[in-house]
């Protein structure tokens, strides 16, 4: 079972003459879990796309199971036994869960027709194994991001691949799902499946991988067995410099309440949500999948229709029916679903950044856009978050996932909101950029921005927030402040074991 399963030798990849990968040579051993890390835009996904037949390398060769192979399209990859969980969802929204899982490898009856029942059965088993509670015949478009990701995992696993590639599978998952995934990975590994695992969560790399490789600017700069490196060392290799304290020091917010929600209710989704937000406060929203955090954000923004509930700004009641109303009232939203609702992939970096804040770049007459002003503002964001892009006019489809996320963040803060609802702001972002984002949000808070911070990473919530509200099944189950913000307390509230002890 041991030996080399895959060798990629001297792989180079250029996009319109810009080098993205230069002479990358990697070897993957049979049955190992190989971690690949690197900053946003380092070329990780590109390397994996070459393996799965989506891109062809400009030069270099691939040896799979001791045979030189050319992976010209996804079908070739599939035939070799390579399957991938891509960084961006690769699901057909119009089709059901089981259709997607079996897309391209349908189970058929003897008469050639689709064996729907058989596929549904198999899907049910897979979902059960991953402890996902969704119906096999649910349409993808009705699923939450997390569930979509679980479907992607099922899809990749269902193929019984020899080599399973996972490109940031956990960036949209919460603790619980990650644990399930890791259990699955260990089982697959024991069955002999080889796994390439990409993540920005270095602790996960440390926990699950056997070996780790670091890519920087398209070059492989470091390979080591996992037991021989620490998380801190990995981060240093990635970034090329020393990283210090991750989370900034929290300052005490002002006492003044600038924003308040009373009794927000969306039938079947949210019930009686009330909370206050002080000036300069960072308020965490914690909970398990489907607890309703996204629903709270979307209801405040006016995207979801509420059946009752009032919203106050500086003590005055404001009417919000749609996102225009909320933005006009200084409330802005960073969506968790980058691809679906966050960015326009055929818009440039500038155009995305200023999409919400466009009015401030327009001359009154004819609403003429002052492009220079737009560009200057975007440049600031690019430098602050280290957005890696060929130019500010590059379309977002050509940016790496993490860099798209940074643009998405820039877009939500560019209008200089008073209240920012950040839903998973650091999804898919590398460690140093993460740190930068934390600092930035913190400094904005110091200047008076109030922030509702939604995250599935407990660490972030604990490190960033002045106060944390925990939700379960569409209700607030408790509120934590100061010293009491810790993992244990949050989990208690989120799972509902000590429900009733806290009332906000």
């Amino acid at each position: 079972m041991s030996g080399c399963l895959l060798k990629m030798q001297d792989i180079c990849k250029e996009f319109s003459s810009v080098a993205v990968l230069t002479d990358v040579t990697i070897e993957v051993m049979r049955g190992e879990v190989l971690g690949i890390i690197g900053e946003n835009g380092a070329g990780k996904s590109t390397l994996m796309k070459i393996l799965s037949g989506i891109y062809t390398p400009t030069s270099g060769k691939i040896v799979f199971e001791e045979k030189a192979v050319v992976i010209e399209d996804p079908l070739a990859a599939k035939k070799l036994g390579i399957s991938i969980i891509p960084q961006e969802f690769n699901l057909i929204n119009e089709l059901t869960v089981y259709d997607n899982i079996f897309l391209g490898s349908e189970i058929r009856k003897k008469n050639g027709l689709l064996d729907k029942r058989g596929m549904m059965e198999r899907t049910r088993e897979l979902l059960k194994e991953l402890e996902v509670e969704i119906k096999p015949d649910e349409k993808i478009e009705n699923l939450s991001t997390m569930h979509k990701q679980m479907v992607e995992i099922c899809k990749a696993v269902s193929m019984d691949a020899k080599l399973l590639i996972m490109d940031e599978p956990t960036s949209v998952l919460s603790r619980h799902e990650i644990d399930i995934l890791f259990r699955l990975m260990r089982r697959l590994k024991n069955q002999g499946t080889t796994i390439i695992y990409i993540s920005h969560k270095l602790k996960e790399i440390k926990a699950i991988c056997d070996r780790v490789m670091v890519l920087r600017d398209g070059e492989l700069i470091f390979t080591e067995m996992i037991q021989d490196v620490t998380v801190l060392e990995m981060a240093q290799y990635m970034v090329g410099r020393e990283l210090n304290q991750v989370f900034p020091v929290k300052k005490v917010p002002a006492a003044e309440v600038v924003f308040e929600v009373q009794n927000l209710t969306v039938p079947g989704v949210l019930e009686g949500i009330s909370f206050q937000l002080k000036k300069g406060e960072i308020l965490g929203l914690a909970g398990l999948v489907g607890a309703g955090r996204t629903a709270v954000a979307e209801t405040i923004m006016g995207i979801r229709k509420r059946s009752s509930g009032e919203i106050f700004r500086n003590g005055k009641r404001i009417l919000i029916w749609d996102p225009q109303d909320s933005v006009a009232n200084g409330i802005n939203y960073l969506s968790e679903d980058r691809q679906g609702t966050g960015i326009l992939t055929n818009f440039s970096v500038i155009q995305n950044t200023t999409l919400v804040s466009l009015p401030i770049y327009c001359r009154y007459f004819f609403q003429y856009i002052l492009k220079k002003k737009e560009q200057e503002a975007t440049l600031k964001h690019k430098e602050r978050f280290n957005i890696k892009t060929q130019s500010l006019d590059t379309k977002l489809e050509y940016l790496s996932g993490g860099n798209q996320q940074k643009v998405s963040l820039a877009k939500s803060i560019d209008p200089a909101p008073e209240v920012l609802i950040a839903n998973e702001p650091t999804r898919g972002v590398d460690v140093s950029a993460k740190q930068e984002i934390y600092r930035f949000i913190n400094s904005l808070a110091e200047e008076g921005l109030s922030c509702i911070f939604i995250s599935s990473e407990q660490e972030e919530i604990i490190g960033m927030c002045h106060r944390v509200i925990v939700m379960k099944d569409g209700r607030i189950t408790g509120s934590l402040e100061g010293e009491s913000i810790n993992e244990e307390e949050i989990m208690f509230l989120a799972t509902g074991i000590r429900e009733g002890d806290f009332r906000s």
Binding site: P86, I92, N93, L95, K116, G268
Partner: protein
């Protein structure tokens, strides 16, 4: 929790049967408005009248689900029918046997439809030209070729038998209606229960995702246009049998809009990715009833367009309203 479930349940049903509900409403209104409407013969007439564009609309459904459009169907009807009848006449001269001639003519028309559809498909997939442009171009080309082979006039079949076989009945149904229903069943199964049907939706929903899922996108699209071409030629055969002739300048005029309208009224979105075959037939019947009622009620010819437009918009509005 129960509320949630019934809510979803209702939504599911409504979505699926919305076009049927519009049809039912139109049916009720029509039978109240006109005493002739519910006569058995009138219903049969409507079914036969819509069967020709109905078949074409079935192929159009595939094309639209794939994310494309086929504007060439009307002209192709005329061209296929011309080829069929010319070949029939030619065979009659040689064999002077009506059956051989008829069979030969029909086969020629079918093959022509297949070729024409593949040509569209080829230009769209290999040539990477927008379906709208390719089929707009081939719409002009097929009409022009029909005019050319028929000197812009009529091509009449020399076989009297050809002119009657399309008028017979099978199981009490006129032949074209029967054929349309069989085709509907076959295509409906293809769409819902075969691999091809799945891939068609996948391709229409996102060609990129389909490609990443190791689906041969070009092949799937190509087949959709070919199917459309073949269905057009079946319709062309039935229609030319009805007239026992082809009017090269007029036959099939405007079929493309009727067919696309039937597809969309039936609930398949123009953006593709999903669709329903039965819905398309329902859509075609809705259009047929509207035309029938305009005649039955004797609406002024100048205002027929207004009524027709309003009813079409209304029929789709009903579907949207509660969804």
């Amino acid at each position: 929790m129960i509320k949630k479930i019934t809510g979803r349940f209702r939504k599911f049903h409504y979505q699926k049967y919305a076009s049927l509900i519009a049809l039912a409403l139109l049916f009720i209104v029509s039978s109240i408005l006109s005493p002739y409407f519910l006569q058995f013969q009138n219903i049969l007439n409507i079914l036969r009248q819509i069967s020709y564009t109905g078949m074409i609309a079935l192929g159009q459904t595939f094309v639209i689900i794939s994310g494309g459009i086929d504007l060439s169907v009307g002209s192709l009807t005329a061209f296929n029918a011309s080829v069929g009848i010319l070949f029939l006449n030619y065979l009659m001269k040689i064999f002077s046997n009506e059956f051989i001639a008829m069979a030969g003519g029909i086969i020629a028309a079918l093959i022509m439809g297949l070729l024409a559809g593949s040509l569209n498909g080829f230009l769209i997939t290999r040539g990477r030209i927008a379906p709208f442009i390719v089929t707009l171009g081939s719409m002009a080309i097929f009409r022009s070729l029909a005019l050319f082979v028929g000197s812009a006039g009529e091509i009449r079949s020399v076989s009297g038998f050809y002119g009657t076989f399309g008028m017979n009945s099978i199981l009490f149904l006129p032949v074209p209606v029967f054929i349309m229903l069989v085709l509907t069943a076959v295509l409906s199964i293809t769409l819902n229960n075969t691999r091809y049907g799945r891939y068609l939706c996948a391709v229409g929903s996102s060609a990129r995702v389909a490609m990443f899922s190791a689906i041969n996108v070009d092949r799937i699209k190509f087949i959709a246009y070919t199917v459309s071409g073949v269905l057009v030629s079946i319709s062309a055969v039935m229609l030319s049998s009805r007239f026992n002739a082809v009017s090269t300048s007029n036959m099939g005029m405007g079929f493309e809009l009727d067919a696309i309208a039937a597809v969309i009224i039936g609930g398949t979105p123009l953006t593709g990715g999903r669709g329903t075959i039965w819905g398309t037939i329902v859509g075609a019947i809705i259009l047929g009833i509207i035309n029938n009622m305009l005649n039955m009620l004797g609406v002024s010819p100048y205002l027929q367009g207004t009524v027709k437009g309003l009813v079409i918009i209304g029929a789709v509005y009903i579907q949207r309203q509660k969804a």
